[in-house]
Symmetry: C7
Subunit: 94 residues, 7 copies
Amino acid sequence: MNIKPLGDRVVIKRLEAEEKTKSGIVLPGSAKEQPQMAEVMAVGPGGMIDGKEVKMELKVGDKVIFSKYAGTEIKYDGVEYTILKQSDILAIVE
Amino acid sequence: MNIKPLGDRVVIKRLEAEEKTKSGIVLPGSAKEQPQMAEVMAVGPGGMIDGKEVKMELKVGDKVIFSKYAGTEIKYDGVEYTILKQSDILAIVE
Amino acid sequence: MNIKPLGDRVVIKRLEAEEKTKSGIVLPGSAKEQPQMAEVMAVGPGGMIDGKEVKMELKVGDKVIFSKYAGTEIKYDGVEYTILKQSDILAIVE
Amino acid sequence: MNIKPLGDRVVIKRLEAEEKTKSGIVLPGSAKEQPQMAEVMAVGPGGMIDGKEVKMELKVGDKVIFSKYAGTEIKYDGVEYTILKQSDILAIVE
Amino acid sequence: MNIKPLGDRVVIKRLEAEEKTKSGIVLPGSAKEQPQMAEVMAVGPGGMIDGKEVKMELKVGDKVIFSKYAGTEIKYDGVEYTILKQSDILAIVE
Amino acid sequence: MNIKPLGDRVVIKRLEAEEKTKSGIVLPGSAKEQPQMAEVMAVGPGGMIDGKEVKMELKVGDKVIFSKYAGTEIKYDGVEYTILKQSDILAIVE
Amino acid sequence: MNIKPLGDRVVIKRLEAEEKTKSGIVLPGSAKEQPQMAEVMAVGPGGMIDGKEVKMELKVGDKVIFSKYAGTEIKYDGVEYTILKQSDILAIVE
């Protein structure tokens, strides 16, 4: 992928419903903050972010849960991605 | 459990009403911030969070009281969980 | 008591009106932030809280004044308690 | 006085109008933030407050000017007091 | 003057219109934040303020420009003053 | 270019739609925060910004994705530019 | 000029439209935050500002772009100036 996130940001791609069913995560209809499952496509270098050292814990290919309202959505070559900070990723699903 | 919370987050599962009655906690109907009782299912690694060292005090199996409006709810294999930061856990019930 | 508050939190139990009269504190009807008198039931361990060292100054049995709107109310074995941070305790009454 | 303020808080008692006239302070009717004159009744120990060292500069008996909307009002043995942080005291009148 | 400002506060007295004309400052009628010209009457000791060392740069007698909405107005012996933090003083007029 | 951004700011020029199509980025119509693609025209020196060391990672000529609502728009010699902080740049497109 | 800005503030004077045309900057009519071009008339000493070392990068005579809504407007000897912090200056035009 030729999108290189800056700082402590990552680029993720949402997993389709069928993929989510396979991995077992289903989103509740009534959640006030809708979680999402996605795959990590690119990881920023981390480093000093706002005066604080941030070490990137994520790697390309990780399946993650993130908050729907975090980050910025872009479309690249017809595919939608989200760029968000690593701290907006809640968990890794293994 | 194969959900690995990041940073200072934990995954908890709410205790059912009958379990709460057994352990003696009842939620007041009029509380402005409704507390909840839950069991810790997974604990993040802690470490440097927003430039501050966070040591995880919780462990899997702890019964805890947390604020209802904290965290993000997910459903996994048909069971509902909440992912939230350790600092949103108010107390351990022993 | 088997509720163990985390971090810099304490568990307090409000003193009844007759107890408050005995100790001499009366709440003004028109206060914008209504103070409360309570007894400390459990004290968290303190330590590094949000990157800052917090030493617990309170001990079980202390009579304290706190702000009504601080903390979270719970009911345990039929008794109401409030869990709040030590910094929301205004004063000790000796 | 048996009210011991915690941290960087002080307990003050407002001076009556006649006392204020004697010391020369009159409150303007149109001030957006109404100042008040009071006497310091008790002073907390200071120390590390929210990660910062606070040294108490006030002592019991000081006549001070403070902001009306700061702090919490209590009534003790029939007398009204205000508990507020030292940093909400604007000046000492000598 | 027997008002001693605490911390990084100063006491100032607004200059009358004729004084302002003499020193050449006129306030624009349409400014969203109306500046004011005043004379410094008392200066606090500075020191550690909210965990940061503040050195007082102002001295009694300085003519200063300040923001109208900063600080607290008081009346003392029939004269109006404003108590505000040194950082709310914009400039010295020499 | 003779506009020299201060501190951790950069000057960018938005890429036209045809340029965006060539590089493959299309903005989704429904994004709550509309991303933008631009070219970096000038880069500030970085250094101590608000008490924190900021190292500039961007260089003139970088193609970047940024948030539409960040920064200040100016027109210079008939061309529109945006001045914004490096931290408002989300990613580099290579 | 006998206005001496305090701390990290500068005094600037807006350039007239004809001056702006000569230097090539035109303000877009629809900008949500209208930029402005001005000349620096006086520069504060910098130093420790809110606990952080600020070094002044601007000098008298610099042509700068700043945000319209930053700072405080004053009129002195019939001329309008703006007093604002160096960090509200976006760029130098050379």
